[in-house]
């Protein structure tokens, strides 16, 4: 379970994030939407202790993120290409992440075999380093790497961007499967309202750093979101 308390992030006089309280129960698939500058990536970066909160803190499974590192073993993420090691091949990258998370080669291979469809033959067995793959393929590798090591919290920042339509559809399936497992909390941000309403049980809208909507996904959710963003 993730709890956020009095969390703010300020740069100079500019408050980019202000969340008095937020609770994400274990096993929930949680969607974050908002326009550019709404604070989505800021929130995710705070969750990963990549930036420091100005006030307040986040608890991840009882671990206060900005003071202890004990959240790392059960939390994984793919935020952007800085989560890839450009000079490794995809396999080497997966094995590297695997080793850091206590998975041997066989474990990693077993996991990867589930994603053959998703990779579409463009990731494994290539004679290219990750830095030479296309943006979309890099993203595929990064997303799958975040599934290695049986994480309990998976954070994906705009996973649908840059992916081709087929891969987007497959990724939706993957995230839904992941969310069906009651042990895994999935946090996804997206600009695509349709995708996010499809895969997430709960959607939170951020606007200029403030939490403005907190919706349990239903038939009407998409309409409600579209109405909000059209305004």
């Amino acid at each position: 379970m993730i709890t956020v308390q009095n969390l703010t992030k300020t740069y100079g006089k500019n408050t980019v994030l202000n969340i008095p309280s937020l609770e994400i129960p274990k096993g929930q698939s949680f969607g974050l939407v908002g326009n550019n500058g709404a604070g989505k990536t800021t929130l995710f970066s705070l969750l990963l202790d990549l930036i420091q909160p100005t006030t307040g803190h986040i608890n991840n499974n009882g671990v206060q993120v900005n003071t202890s590192e004990d959240w790392k073993p059960f939390t994984t993420a793919f935020i952007d290409e800085t989560f890839l090691i450009g000079y490794l091949t995809a396999e080497e990258y997966f094995y590297f992440i695997g080793e850091l998370r206590g998975q041997n080669k066989a474990d990693v291979n077993a996991l990867l075999s589930n994603f053959q469809d998703f990779f579409h033959g463009e990731i494994l067995g290539q004679t290219k380093y990750l830095r030479d793959l296309s943006k979309g393929n890099q993203k595929k590798a990064g997303i799958v790497a975040s599934f290695i090591g049986n994480p309990e919290v998976v954070i994906l920042d705009e996973p649908f961007a840059n992916l081709d339509p087929t891969t987007q559809i497959r990724l939706k399936g993957i995230i839904k499967d992941l969310a069906a497992n009651n042990n895994v909390t999935v946090l996804v941000s997206s600009h695509d309202l349709i995708h996010v309403t499809e895969v997430c049980e709960r959607i939170v809208v951020l606007n200029k750093g403030e939490l403005v909507k907190d919706i349990e996904t239903s038939e009407a959710t998409l309409m409600e979101l579209e109405l909000f963003f059209a305004g």
């Binding site: 930036i51 790392k72 939390t75 800085t82 090691i85 380093y129 030479d132």
Partner: protein, 490 residues
Amino acid sequence: MFKHFITLQWKSFFRAASLKSSIAIKILMGFAAVYMTAIFIGMGIGAYFVIEDMNIGDPFDVINKFIIYYLIVDLVFRYMLQKMPVTNIKPLLYLPFKKSQVVNFSLAKTIVSYFNWSHAFFFIPLSIILLTKGYSATGIIGWHLALIAIIYCNNFINVLVNNKDSIFYPLVGLMAVLGLFQYLQWFDITTYTAPFFNALCTLPWISIILWLLAFGLYYAAFNYFKKNLYLDAGLQTKQTIAKTEDLSWLNRFGNLGTFLKNDIKLIKRNKRSKMAVITSFFFIFYGFLFFTGTIEAYDGPIWRIFAGIFISGGFLFSFGQFVPSWDSSYYPLMMSQNIKYKEYLNSKWYLMVIATIISTIIASFYLYFGLDAYLAVLVGAIYNIGVNSYVVLLGGAYTRTPIDLTSAKKAFGDKQSFNLKTVMLTMPKLLLPLLIYGIGHYLISPTAGYIFVAMAGVLGFAFKGFVFKKIEKIYKKEKYKTLLAYKQVS
């Protein structure tokens, strides 16, 4: 049009993260720049008199004899360090600039680069001295102009052959072989090249031909780039064929092995890191300047330790000082992965220690200059492992210059990462052992000096756990600043 290019260049320089250092550092950097310039000028003035003192013939003849090596070394340095002029012009391609303007600007940028005008500090004083020594005025001026032309030829040759390793490495090999042959007096290339450089003085009009050659090369470079100014031609980033490597024999070291495996791949697969390794290899031969007595100023006993530190610590300095910047492009990954800073730093430390030991073993040929010489190397190695490895890691916490691994040219060519701060950090690493040795040497005996320095190293080694805890703390504290700085890739 040029105005636009120049303002862009200006902004890219002054808005780089690495430039936003404190005033104190800037002043120090200014002093260092002045110092370097002074050394160059001093060399220009001094070269004549040093050669005269050595009594190996007419100084001008000697200079002409060895200038071929000077020029080849210049070419090698350019190849390794000077940046391709085509970077950063991608966003300009679709804008209403004429292609020829873009190319002209890029080439003009190389003309005014540090790699060309730094030679002026050496050649202008040298030429003035030669003039005052009664060499023919027109001759020397012709010679001087001809050398400028050759330097520019080098500039454009480098632009043309850039990235062509197949030309570069054979050239380096050839130079090494020729140098060795000359040393062994088997074959002397300079007997063929010296008359040419002498002729530049006796027949000053030759410089006109060389200038024409330089312009010709400019034209060739211009055409080459203009023709290749496409995303799938000259502007394409070179892709290497990837080979998956299995370094599973390192698995026995646990998490440490995981990092070591990664670091080995990092070094093998990226230009910038390969450069660091090559540099450290050259450091091994640095000792020749000291132990052969070539340079008088280095004859003092404490300089032996200086040499020892450099010979064994080349890798430590060239690679170690950029920890953790080597991982800058994926630092957020490292910071959110399931790893402890201690393990991460430990692997870098082991890498430096292993490299120091290897360098020390290679350097065993210094035994030729006597046991004393090699003892200096050994003591230097102990100090490097015991003390400098920590200082280097500590410095790394504050370096925060993101490294573009795929570009070898940025070490000096790009001002954004020309980081004298790292040079500043080198000072305590070098001066302290000299001081320690000096105390032992002058108060007791040379042997005591060696023992003192080695003791400092052993002592440092003994406190590794304690020191690592401190360094780890600093890295943790600096983590957020580092992450922020790495976001801005130059």
